[in-house]
């Protein structure tokens, strides 16, 4: 029996989804629906934009105005939508490669502009759709089909990049902690400027198998045991935090939102 949340926010005709058993994305999609429901947004005014990859399929399953775009470009399309129609609530769902490799430029500039879009990154540390290649967030030394001898690149901290580039709300949640992650997404949507919620997902099929992380349950258990709330992390040393997931609201700043500033220009120059 589907929950009320599924009834209201998912397009049942297009389920079941394509995600593998145990994948974290389904849980995260539910968190997004719950967050929208908690706020009570009018679904007709919500636009959900995604890029390409496993995460991007969420757009098709959710009953909003949905746009499944090109790889990495979700934020660029979303910027056009939000700029042209500031009255719409624009949410982006992206993957880690999507948001920080091919779409990295769009991420940092959306942050710089502080445009009122909520960017949710389903970060599973791997390119899943194409079969397990290492991504910009794959931890150092871990394996992917294109890093058969171990990854020698340093991974990105997406939330930190976003904050450094001007995003006025950044947070990190996990697929394991649905309550926390839902709250972080909810706060991100409520926040006026550009918000980035990095959600640690899990990919048991590729990342898990390639790196001997055990079953999906083992991977969720790892998230549970290695998540550290930001408040607690502040008192810990970098050594103690090594390999841990710092979760919670990481930053919130006050800066005028882009479309509001542009409206002020229109009001000033309109003939």
């Amino acid at each position: 029996m589907p929950s009320k949340l599924v009834d209201k926010y998912l397009r049942e005709a297009h389920l079941p989804h394509i995600w593998c058993p145990g994948c974290g994305h389904g849980v995260l999609m539910r968190d997004v629906a719950q967050a929208v429901d908690n706020i009570g947004l009018d679904r007709n005014k919500v636009v959900l934009v995604s890029g390409i990859g496993c995460s991007s399929r969420a757009a098709g399953y959710m009953d909003f105005n949905t746009m499944h775009t090109t790889h990495g470009r979700a934020l660029a399309f979303a910027t056009g939508i939000k700029m042209a129609r500031p009255d719409l609530e624009v949410i982006c769902i992206m993957g880690d490669g999507d948001a920080s490799a091919i779409g990295g430029n769009h991420l940092i500039h959306a942050a710089r502009r502080n445009i009122g879009i909520t960017a949710i990154v389903f970060n599973n540390d791997i390119y899943g759709m194409t079969g397990g290649q290492y991504s910009p967030t794959t931890p150092y030394g871990e394996k992917g089909t294109t890093a058969p001898y171990g990854n020698i690149d340093r991974p990105f901290d997406i939330a930190k990049i976003a904050q450094a580039c001007g995003a006025t709300y950044t947070a990190r949640g996990t697929a394991y902690d649905a309550v926390l992650t839902t709250k972080l997404i909810e706060d991100g949507i409520r926040h006026k400027g550009f918000s980035v919620i990095e959600c640690a997902s899990i990919c048991p099929t590729y990342y898990g198998r390639k790196n001997k992380k055990g079953s999906a349950v083992d991977m969720y258990t790892w998230q549970k045991e290695n998540s550290i709330r930001v408040e607690k992390a502040q008192a810990m040393s970098p050594e103690e935090l090594k390999g841990k997931l710092v979760v919670g609201k990481l930053s919130e700043d006050d800066f005028p939102e882009l479309t509001e500033q542009y409206q002020a220009i229109i009001d000033r120059v309109r003939k």
């Binding site: 098709g60 499944h68 399309f77």
Partner: protein, 376 residues
């Protein structure tokens, strides 16, 4: 003082876009199209529209398409190097059937080339730059007045057929200043995309009515929560792997253009009635050809000009008709023979067609055309 204003081609393009109802522009600075971005930055907020300078050309194209999906007529402009980058999302707009206008003001040479010099080297890229089989309309202006009027036409065609339209300008007209009479409001026809009235439309947003190849389009936010995807999709807007649907969808996209050639094609013929030699050209090159035709006619040479205004789809039937009447065809263009390929293909006259082309960033002079016509 009359109503005639001195205006640059790029400026006229901006005014034409506003006249057509464009209320969103996303762009990235690039010579020789930058004045279009600058003009939009000044003018759009004055009419309640929005301008944004994006982080790159790819994003500019994406943002323009996003704005249009939200129901706002939109435009982006670029030059060759940026045109290459925009190809990715141009194809997305073709498949998702989101109208917008992409202005290209080419520059000479491949790569960064000669940034401030004229060229028409993007003819084939306009048609074939984005991957896969897709519909494409490209319109080329040859006067400042046309930069205005044909920009309006680009928007109209884009809205009518739910497809991106390329306004294929060139540096010759883009940076040229001429007198232009700005049309009054209501003087030119403005086409707006058809919006669904039937609530059942939401279930099949890409279904077409009997006798039409163009689905009507709901803007985001109006209550029809539908899905847009760059994957091959069924009438319901959702991805499918059905080979049958893939075939049907791609063929319908192409049919939007192929079934409406009478409406989409446009051209100019000058002194063609008794012409024995026809010079084929487009865009700014027409200015050289016009002068050459005048000079030659004064000397009694029976020469005329055929100028496709709609460059894509290429006016094949008309070209064949002309080929059947004249003794000689000469193609003149600022590239190494791109439209020439199309003229050869549609007429089947390969080696018999003369050619005047330039790739060094200078403009073809009337004398060069005169010489080519005389040498036969």
């Amino acid at each position: 003082m009359g109503k005639v204003k001195l205006m640059q081609g790029n400026e006229a393009c901006v005014e034409g876009a506003l006249y057509a109802g464009c209320r969103f522009y996303a762009g990235y600075p690039i010579t020789p199209s930058t004045e279009i971005a600058e003009g939009c930055a000044v003018r759009l907020p004055q009419v309640g529209g929005h301008f944004i300078q994006m982080e790159d050309e790819i994003a500019s194209c994406a943002a323009a398409i996003g704005a249009s999906a939200a129901g706002v007529k939109s435009m982006t402009a670029t030059s060759g190097p940026g045109f290459s980058l925009k190809q990715e999302n141009l194809g997305y707009a073709c498949l998702t059937e989101i109208p917008f206008v992409l202005v290209d003001v080419p520059r000479a040479g491949p790569s960064t080339g000669l940034p401030t010099s004229p060229s028409q080297g993007d003819v084939m890229q306009a048609k074939w730059g984005t991957h896969g089989d897709h519909p494409m309309i490209a319109i080329a202006p040859s006067t400042v007045e046309e930069c205005f009027k044909l920009c309006v036409r680009c928007f109209n065609l884009s809205e009518k057929y739910r497809t991106p339209v390329i306004f294929l300008m060139d540096e010759i007209v883009g940076h040229l200043r001429e007198g232009i009479e700005i049309p009054e409001e209501g003087e030119l026809e403005i086409v707006n995309r058809a919006i669904p009235e039937d609530p059942a439309h939401a279930k099949k947003p890409y279904a077409t009515k009997e006798g039409s190849t163009v689905p009507v389009m709901a803007p985001f936010g109006a209550g029809e929560r539908y899905n847009i995807t760059g994957l091959i999709h069924a009438d319901d807007g959702f991805p499918t792997n059905s080979t049958e649907i893939a075939d049907k969808q791609v063929r319908r996209l192409l049919a939007k253009i192929d079934d409406n050639l009478d409406d989409i094609l446009s051209w100019e013929e000058t002194s063609m009635d008794d012409a024995e030699v026809c010079v084929v050209c487009f865009g700014g090159t027409a200015r050289s050809v016009q002068s050459a035709v005048e000079t030659l006619r004064a000397e009694g040479v029976k020469v005329g000009m055929f100028r496709p205004i709609t460059v894509w789809p290429f006016p094949a039937k008309k070209m064949r008709e002309i080929a059947g009447k004249v003794k000689k065809i000469i193609v003149a263009e600022h590239n190494d023979g791109q439209m020439l390929l199309e003229v050869q293909r549609v007429t089947g006259l390969y080696d018999k067609i003369g050619f005047v082309g330039k790739v060094n960033g200078t403009v073809i002079t009337p004398d060069e055309i005169v010489k080519a016509v005389k040498e036969g």
